[in-house]
């Protein structure tokens, strides 16, 4: 993390608040030390995992939990070879689910937020009611529906139910935003004869970009980590997402390289780390400033 990333334009509002708190004197280093200890403890499992992922069998037997040299990068080569098809599965699951979900929720949120059509209240309450339906109630019967539609073991069997599950949250967040846009923005375009969908595409969506991208990141995280639904719907382990693929590493990698199994665990989380590197600022700022309301 470069030091430039600490300074972002959007931080200024917060800096003002912070600098006003200059008067709160205290022992900064004591607090920092305590936080450093807590931060270190939080990372202990990750550090141990990294340690294990570079070990060969002999190093495992000698001192399993202590760092040891040399690092065996071979573990990662081996794990990557096994894990690649599963990584591809995960990418396909994420791309499909997020595209379907965001397109549907944006269109619905725009209609609900911008137009006073008959039945609008009814449809919005129907969306809000979803918040009262926990996933655990519908898990088994959604599975039955998916099987009856012949969607088990297909991509649509992953994409559609997961996209349905995200609709309520995305629509509520986006509808609030679309409804808050001033009418004048749209009136001018309407006089120029713009069609409704054109206005969504040209006016509303560019303004909604930060919110949409936050929703996309949250959904990528959720879909990448989803393991209960794929276990239920996919009977062929070859189609598993990487998060389940790593469960099969123990069978696929020979006894000689126990470290490769742990290298696989690391690789399964690596794409999320890359995603986080690009989005952490938006993410942290969004949550700390309370921009995303629940």
């Amino acid at each position: 993390m470069s030091s430039t990333s600490l300074r972002v334009p959007g931080e200024t509002a917060q800096s003002v608040i912070r600098s006003r708190r200059r008067f709160r004197l205290g022992d900064d280093w004591k607090i920092a030390l305590l936080l450093a200890i807590l931060g270190f403890l939080t990372f202990v499992p990750v550090l141990l995992l990294l340690g294990l992922s570079f070990k060969d069998q002999q190093q495992m037997a000698d001192a399993m939990w202590l760092p040891s040299w040399p690092l065996h990068l071979r573990n990662y080569v081996k794990a990557a070879r096994v894990i690649r098809p599963y990584l591809m599965n995960s990418v396909v699951f994420v791309l499909g689910t997020v595209s379907i979900s965001i397109v549907c929720s944006t269109l619905s949120a725009y209609a609900l937020g911008r137009y006073d059509f008959p039945g609008r209240e009814f449809f919005y309450i129907a969306i809000l009611a979803l918040l009262m339906i926990p996933g655990i109630l519908t898990l088994i019967t959604t599975f039955v529906v998916t099987v009856k539609l012949g969607l088990n073991n297909t991509l649509f069997g992953i994409w559609l139910p997961l996209a349905a599950g995200a609709q309520a949250f995305q629509i509520i967040v986006l509808r609030t935003f679309f409804a808050s846009l001033p009418n004048e923005l749209f009136e001018a375009a309407r006089i120029d004869g713009a069609r409704e969908l054109t206005m969504l595409w040209r006016i509303a969506l560019p303004l909604a970009k930060p919110i949409v991208s936050t929703l996309v990141v949250l959904q990528i995280l959720a879909v990448w980590n989803e393991f209960i639904w794929p276990i239920m719907v996919l009977s062929d382990p070859q189609r598993y997402p990487v998060i389940l693929g790593i469960l099969r590493l123990t069978q696929l990698i020979t006894e000689r390289d126990p470290g490769a199994q742990f290298a696989g665990y690391v690789l399964a989380g690596l794409p999320l780390l890359i995603l986080f590197a690009f989005t952490s600022r938006t993410f942290i700022r969004g949550l700390t400033s309370g921009a995303i309301k629940f």
Binding site: F43, P118, I136, I140, T141, L272, G290
Partner: protein
């Protein structure tokens, strides 16, 4: 319908006509919502209704169901495994989740809030949020490794301290506490950021006044900061409870509810009843019971928010 009543314009007919005109004018809105509602009807509304209906039936999921009234519920509430063990374990786990979610991330947030150095504060926020990139499954698998009775780190530590090794997940008496210990030191990054947002929103005049009155750091935390971020605490607690009631990741991936049902929870029993035993009716009944629990908790939470607002006004 509107064309028949051109002259006889009774009020309700006029409003009907107006509605029809607005439906024609805004027809595209219904088209825009088509995707969402097709998804929801198929994968949310229908399954919810189906689960409630089938909880009163004996059903294998695919052949026609047979209505049996409350029999499934009677089974749920008298079953040794589901009711006695699973609900007891769930109660303990939920209780622990409440304590955990309300304390440890709050401690982290309060400490970061007290840092004067902005850069340091940002770095620590990053440090505690970064673990969200570790997939839940990987977390579970790493902790499973730490708990390994033969080569796990936990027993290595006990050996160094001079305590007899523990079987952790393999013994009925220590399995559930092991699930609770996992994730130490339990500082959930997202919860911490939400608490921090609450703390940063406290007006500086309030802090100034407290400092003028000579309130120390710890005193300010308990008598000022905590009362002022009660809404955030409640949000985090309720989200955690709802999540905790439904989760069965450890059971699915590692313990299978064992050993000797020591770690089983209702959600896991539901999954097992349906997927392993083909008893979709009983599974639906467990789902409905959990649904009612979550629904009630949400309503209580809503009521608490409302009374709180009235109190402030």
């Amino acid at each position: 319908m509107a064309t028949l009543t051109v002259r006889a314009a009774r009020p309700e007919q006029r409003s009907l006509r107006r509605t029809a005109r607005r439906v024609r004018k805004f027809w595209f809105c219904y088209v825009m919502m088509l995707g969402t509602f097709s998804l929801l009807l198929t994968f949310s509304y229908y399954p919810a209704v189906s689960a409630i209906y089938h909880s009163f039936t004996i059903w294998d999921g695919f052949r026609p169901a047979r209505w049996v009234g409350l029999q499934n519920y009677r089974e749920v509430f008298t079953s040794e495994v589901i009711f006695r063990k699973a609900f007891r374990n769930m109660g303990l786990l939920v209780l622990w989740d409440v304590v955990r979610a309300a304390t440890f991330p709050l401690l982290g947030a309060a400490l970061i809030y007290r840092l004067r150095n902005e850069k340091l504060a940002y770095v620590f926020r990053l440090v505690f949020v970064l673990p969200i990139v570790v997939p839940a499954v990987v977390g579970v698998l790493v902790w499973k490794q730490l708990y390994d009775p033969n080569v796990g780190l936990m027993n290595e530590i006990l050996k160094i301290v001079g305590i007899k090794p523990i079987a952790w997940l393999s013994s009925p008496s220590t399995a559930l506490p092991s699930l609770m210990l996992a994730g130490f030191p339990w500082i959930d990054g997202v919860a911490m950021l939400i608490y921090l947002a609450g703390l940063l929103a406290i007006p500086s005049e309030v802090i100034e006044a407290a400092i003028m009155d000579g309130a120390g750091s710890i005193r300010r935390f308990f008598s000022m900061e905590i009362p002022l971020i009660i809404p955030q605490i409640r949000l985090i607690v309720i989200l955690n409870v709802i999540g905790s009631l439904q989760s069965f990741g450890w059971q699915l991936l590692v313990t299978r509810g064992g050993p000797n049902n020591a770690t089983t929870v209702p959600a896991w029993e539901m999954y097992q009843s349906a997927i392993s035993s083909g008893r979709f009716g009983v599974a639906s009944a467990v789902g409905v019971v959990l649904f009612i629990l979550i629904f009630t908790l949400t309503l209580i939470n809503r009521a608490a928010i409302r009374s709180n607002v009235e109190y402030q006004a």
